[in-house]
């Protein structure tokens, strides 16, 4: 039973199911939520789901982190470092966009007292 859970195949299945569930929770969130902060939260959940999906699928049982130390002297049997680097970049970018969005939201709230994106309708003909 436990061996079954420890196989790479099972872990990948769990990861795909779990992260896609998380992704579509976020998907549902951006489709239904109207508060700006909650929309941003939904986007972040979607992003997190993608990160888990991506990093998780590059993990295989028995591989170790791509860092050598006193015990480990060669770069063998390690997980792929490129996805990790890419995710690292994406996390930082995500934070930047999120903070910018929040600052827009704050200014907009100060001017109008609203943070409901479906009620932002002054731009129309």
């Amino acid at each position: 039973m436990l061996e079954f859970f420890n196989s790479t195949q099972t872990i990948h299945t769990i990861i795909i199911i779990g992260s896609m569930c998380l992704f579509f929770i976020g998907f549902y969130g951006i489709a239904t939520q109207k508060n700006l902060v909650k929309v941003l939260v939904s986007f972040d959940i979607m992003e997190s789901a993608l990160f888990l999906f991506f990093i998780g699928l590059h993990y295989q049982v028995g591989l170790v982190a791509p860092i050598v130390d006193s015990n480990l002297k060669t770069f063998t049997n390690m997980v792929d470092p490129v996805p990790q680097a890419m995710i690292l970049t994406t996390i930082v970018i995500g934070l930047a966009v999120l903070a910018l969005g929040l600052s827009f939201g704050i200014e907009y709230y100060k001017l109008t007292g609203r943070n409901d994106i479906s009620k932002m309708n002054e731009l129309r003909d």
Binding site: L2, V41, I55, V64, L95, I106
Partner: protein
């Protein structure tokens, strides 16, 4: 064993994420979102990605939650229902 750990962490994250989406209180939603970040940190560690885990812990969970909380302090706390 590690599979089970992953499974349960995922379950926890999904529950928390659902809570974050469905919660009417925005502060609560942000705090629950922090839970998603924490769960991700655990998973990243399991997936042998300590760099990402550290980044997610510091940025995804720490700073972005702080920014969110500071941000919603001066917008309304409740989701507006019309």
């Amino acid at each position: 064993m590690i599979g089970l750990l992953i499974l349960f962490t995922f379950l926890a994250i999904i529950t928390v994420a659902l809570g974050a989406i469905l919660s009417k209180d925005i502060t609560q939603s942000v705090m629950l979102f922090m839970g998603v970040g924490l769960g991700s940190v655990v998973l990243f560690f399991i997936f042998q990605a300590p760099d990402v885990a550290l980044t997610e812990a510091v940025i995804g969970t720490g700073l972005s939650t702080a920014v969110f909380l500071l941000g919603i302090m001066h917008t309304s706390q409740e989701e507006m229902e019309s």
